[in-house]
């Protein structure tokens, strides 16, 4: 009888142990705490934080990508640090300081390569995703922006100073580089569409955007909205917009204008303008809810306390609210029922229902900026 009791206890302990070691990551995410060099591991379903992971260096303007198994995050810090974070073990797995001044990164479609885009020295460095060993170094002699992954083990990025886009093909090991000139003056950021076909750079030095059709073996620059600001007084730009959170709503793209209080609508097929929506301030992110029915927009300093929601059928603003001081980023749950919003100077991440616009919760965070759910692991360009 005593023996039976011990056996029962042993089975119970094993069961408990297993329950503790199985961690599923599909509904987890990381919030960048920019000032303190830490990440907050969060649970999207519970609307709560799990733990804080520290020691990641300067995380101002930091971003991250996920491994295909949604276990590892690769975090790109402003100080040139590339940190591999294990979200199951809840700790840093590896870290290298790969440059003096970095501005984002990407992971290849097969999950084996991580690329980092650098301002100083300008260029892209590519690392083995397992070991963080340097695989390829591609100096550009220019500040490098708009780095994305493209299908076929390729990375695409753009040179701020020269206005060139480079396509680095790593499918055969050594990088083969196709340089495309005449992308426009001072491209500041870029996006790739979810199907991996179109790469679009926004231009700071002139009106408009420039697209490349990556299905074309020799892509040529395609000008998009070359005169969108014509005849209007340009406003000072206190914060460059981001295109990473590009929005595709039905057949159209929605993009932030530079130097104007507007978002621009572009036909997804022929890239012609289909409309404009006047907004509260200069947009920073214009992000589509995953179903494409709404676009949520936040704004540059000093109007960065506000969010507007645009209905994509009517292109009209259907909701406006003020989550708090310094709204920096938004991330939708994968099917779009809720949105998480980082409000830096309130020290909070706020969670809203996207249909009723009711607040569903909030999480304490120190100067939160980017929010990244693990569902990004399975999306091109994120």
């Amino acid at each position: 009888m005593k023996w039976l009791g011990s056996a029962f206890l042993a089975i119970l302990m094993v069961t408990n142990l297993q329950a503790e070691t199985i961690v599923s990551t599909g509904d987890l995410g990381l919030v960048v705490e920019r000032a303190n060099g830490s990440l907050l591991l969060v649970d999207q379903s519970e609307r709560s934080s799990i733990t804080r992971i520290t020691g990641l260096g300067d995380l101002s303007h930091a971003s991250l990508v996920y491994s295909p198994d949604q276990r590892f995050a690769y975090v790109f810090g402003r100080d040139g640090g590339l940190t591999k974070v294990d979200i199951i073990e809840k700790k840093i797995a590896d870290r290298v300081v790969q440059s003096g001044n970095a501005i984002g990164g990407a992971i290849s479609d097969d999950g084996t390569l991580v690329a980092v885009s650098n301002y100083e020295p300008g260029g892209v460095r590519i690392f083995d995703a397992d070991t963080l060993d340097l695989v390829a170094d591609i100096p550009t002699g220019s500040k490098t922006i708009g780095l994305v992954d493209a299908p076929g083990r390729r990375f695409v990025f753009t040179l701020w100073d020269e206005g060139e886009t480079w396509i680095a093909d790593l499918s055969s090991g050594e990088p083969k580089i196709n340089k495309i000139k005449d992308m426009g003056r001072n491209p500041y950021d870029a996006l790739i569409t979810g199907d991996g076909r179109l790469y679009i750079t926004g231009l700071f030095g002139e009106d408009g955007l420039t697209a490349l059709d990556l299905w074309d073996p020799n892509p040529k620059p395609i000008r998009v909205l070359p005169k969108y600001g014509k005849g209007q007084q340009e406003l000072p730009v206190y914060k460059m917009p981001h295109l990473e959170g590009w929005a595709r709503a039905g057949r159209e793209f929605v993009l932030p204008a530079v130097g104007h209080h507007q978002v621009l609508w572009i036909d997804g097929e022929d890239l012609s303008e289909t409309g404009r929506t006047d907004t509260y301030g200069q947009p920073v992110f214009a992000m589509a809810r995953p179903d494409g029915r709404q676009v949520w927009v936040n704004f540059a300093h000093p109007l960065n306390d506000t969010i507007q929601v645009i209905d994509t059928l009517t292109k009209k603003i259907v909701h406006e609210f003020k989550p708090g001081p310094a709204v920096l980023h938004m991330e939708f749950t994968p099917r779009g029922h809720e949105v998480w919003i980082s409000v830096r100077d309130a020290g909070k991440v706020m969670i809203y229902d996207t249909r009723t616009f009711e607040k569903r919760g909030e999480i304490e965070a120190e100067s939160p900026s980017g929010i990244f759910f693990t569902s990004r692991a399975h999306k091109t360009g994120l």
Binding site: N101, I103, Y238, M240, H261, H301
Partner: protein
Amino acid sequence: MRSLFVLLAFVCSPAFAGETSSFDDLINLVHQDCGSCHGLTLKGGLGPDIRPDALSHYDVSTLSTVVLDGIPDTAMPPWRPLMSEADAKKIAEYLLHGDLK
């Protein structure tokens, strides 16, 4: 017309031009908002390094003019719509001599 309206909104708002701000608010502005181009630690990003050594060729008056009026044909915007001349001078002094965090 909309631009004019926006400008008026700035002028009428108590947080903007004409008012002087606390030193802490200004330091926060320098690191968070100047920092969106120049980096949170001011060592440079899309915009150049603006730590004291990198700015040593400026005096306070020239640097505060750059802050207020921007640099044409670059991404440096004029901050005059958002801040007073007194605040721009304080920021220039902080950038040139301040103990940077």
